[in-house]
Amino acid sequence: MALPQRKTDIGPPHYKDFLPPVIQKNYGNWKYHEELSGGLMVHVSNTGEKIWTVRVASPRLLSTVTIRDYAAMADKYCGGYVRFTTRNNVEFLVSDEKNIEPLQKELTSKKYMMGGIGDRISNIVHTQGWVHCHSAASDASGLVKALMDEFADYFTTKTTPAKVRMAVACCVNMCGAVHCSDIAVVAIHRKVPKIDDDKVKNMCEIPSTIAACPTGAISPDPAKKSVKIKEDKCMYCGNCFTVCPPMEIHDPEYDGVAIVVGGKVGNLRSNPKFSKLAIPYIKNNPPRWPEVTKAVKGILDAYIADAKKHERVGEWIERIGWEKFFKVTGLPFTFQHIDDFTIARETFRTAATFKW
């Protein structure tokens, strides 16, 4: 069968062709919105017209079977219109109020989870992990599933002091927004790469391999036409492995995850912040990483118990102080918590004010 005629550099289709008619009519003319439940909100236009959004969790990794089911429900209740959020939720855009309940009923009967709107835990943004990434130090989808099962009530009904945004990255490359999340899990390696000199010679470009190292730990090994690593300078980031695969960094015995807290991207109340280290290492324990879910739950519970309304995790910690954070969470403070990378001195306490 002949192939259809290919076209190049046409870019994506125009978004207007994918907007429900009520959105086309009220584009840029919305007046306000109301959160009606964990998984339902309504936007009201200056003309009085409304659009309801029913938000549903997805695992991001979706089969065509499930996407076809979304499409079928969109046809049945939404005039065929559906969108995805930046946090991998699915949003059914309902223009006719009487379709909301039947849609919610069908979603419930099919065990879809509605929620994620407002001051709750929304879906966890994450990376590819063991599904196919070459540099993963843990699996991302499995960690997300275990965490979201634990916090399902906070997605659907229960509320938190402010929204809680979580992320999981399967290595320090951080394809997810781990570096600016309320609570995030980042997988780490802890052993120096093992160099296969014969393969490095044939497969790798030495200068770019050396340049990939953030700490200058890699130098040429001219005798072997390979490279060598100054072990005490290596921080196991794996950037060299990405550039030069025969520098094997995986080590199932020592790989695992770290937990970081207190980041945000919004400018509300306080400026955007990076996440900071709370727990330097938890062993990989698939399939459900019970130690990780327990640790995250400990931090979340401390936050819920003590934070003021609208305070994000990072704002709560800044108000109470980091020494208090470690105290109320019971987390040990270790050498790994004290920065020794590029901005280390900015993080040292240059004041005599702190709590006991």
Binding site: H43, V65, T86, W130, N173, F274
Partner: protein, 394 residues
């Protein structure tokens, strides 16, 4: 019939209320040999606590240097159907709106030529098709492009730009994020499909400082909508919020970072000249407060994940720019930035890293921008500053 694998570990991840990715892979594995082997290989990863994805040769479609990422199994003999497991990035629509018609067509193509597995969406915002063979790539591209869809970016190229839901369904949007996102994507198709940059470059457009697209953390160029006028206050709605149980003093006034608000129990007053436009009060009292006056965007540059010098957030380059079609001023500014990067950037150096290495002064001078206090959190503390001949002559 695709091969059936025993997956006792992954089966544990089908339990619990949250939708399961394992169930998704199993659904695809009923029809696809590739998805079946993916499931088998993933079970082995769970057993061995390590991934079996592998780097390999570059693959793509004719005339393009990006859009497809070659992925391979490091265990091709054990799992032959994922020996190739290439990723195809389809450029998503602005703000991820779709029709059922397109989704069904996409599924038809992908069931025929791929594993039936997707990511909706990848971290950068592409519609990601997970797992196909090299020989299917041209066919997949012809099927999509003939229906009006194109590939996204990969490698040292412009990556697929993305934006928040903006004016399509949000009352806070100061700029038309969907239109800007579409315009950027169409303007720079060549930059996206034929990698010619020192490294990757990402645009993200947010309608306001709530930044639902995480532009300040995740884009080399963050475009954040803002305004110059006052916040209009509807005192009747303020009263309604109080009646509804809101503690306006605690929740709004005390949480204002610039302390520009006061509330006497009846009226909420705002000293607009002191407002920094953080969006807290507007977001919490959306019926009562509204940004008015001149609208535009703040352009910030440089966010990236930790490699190589540590993670960075974008920083202000242009505090305020009008963002209206055809966006000529903005486009010229970006071209000038890319010229600077092309001239001085090293291989695999992001534009933010280059600015840090060369100094803000060189970058701003190259762009022809004057220094303003909005560029910094605070002036320098050290006494080590440069004087050019021109400075001395002043």
């Amino acid at each position: 019939m695709p091969k059936k694998y025993q997956t006792p570990l992954l089966d544990e991840l089908e339990k619990g209320p949250f939708p399961s990715f394992v169930t998704e892979i199993k659904k695809a594995a009923e029809k696809s040999d590739m998805a079946a082997d993916e499931l088998g290989q993933l079970e082995k990863s769970y057993r061995d606590r390590r991934g079996y994805g592998k780097h390999g040769g570059i693959v793509g479609v004719r005339g393009y240097g990006s859009g497809v990422i070659g992925r391979y199994s490091s265990l091709p003999e054990e799992f032959p159907n994922v020996a190739n497991f290439h990723t195809v990035r389809i450029n998503s629509t602005s703000a991820f709106f779709y029709t059922s018609k397109f989704l069904n067509e996409m599924c038809d193509i992908w069931d025929k030529y791929g594993s039936g597995l997707t990511n909706m969406h990848g971290s950068t915002g592409d519609l990601v098709l997970l797992g196909t063979n090299t020989e299917n790539l041209e066919t997949i591209f012809a099927e999509f492009s003939s229906r009006g869809w194109d590939l996204g970016g990969s490698g040292s190229a412009l990556r697929t730009p993305s934006c928040c839901v903006g004016p399509a369904r949000c009352e806070w949007a100061n700029i038309d994020t969907l239109a800007i996102n579409y315009a950027i994507t169409q303007e720079w198709q060549d930059e996206m499909h034929r990698p010619a940059f020192p490294y990757k470059f990402k645009f993200k457009t947010a309608g306001c400082a709530v930044d639902c697209i995480a532009s300040i953390a995740r884009a080399d160029c963050s475009i954040i909508g803002t305004w110059k006028g006052n916040i209009a206050v509807d005192q009747k709605e303020v009263a309604n919020y109080e009646k509804g149980g809101m503690n306006i003093q605690e929740e709004i006034v005390n949480m204002c970072p610039s302390k520009c608000m006061s509330y006497n129990g009846k009226e909420l007053s705002i000293k607009d000249a002191d407002c920094v436009r953080c969006m807290h009060c507007i977001a919490k009292m959306t019926k009562a407060l509204k940004a008015t006056g001149e609208k535009g965007a703040t352009i910030l540059i440089g966010a990236k994940a930790p490699f190589v010098i540590g993670a960075t957030l974008s920083w202000v380059i242009v505090p305020f720019i009008k963002m209206e079609p055809p966006y000529d001023e903005f486009k010229d500014l970006i071209r000038k930035m890319w010229e600077f990067w092309d001239e001085f950037g090293k291989n695999r150096e992001r534009i933010g890293e280059l600015i840090i290495r060369k100094g803000m002064r060189e970058f701003l001078e190259y762009l022809g921008l004057d220094p303003v206090p909005q560029h910094v959190k605070e002036p320098r503390r050290d006494p080590f500053f440069f004087w050019s001949e021109a400075d001395l002559a002043k």
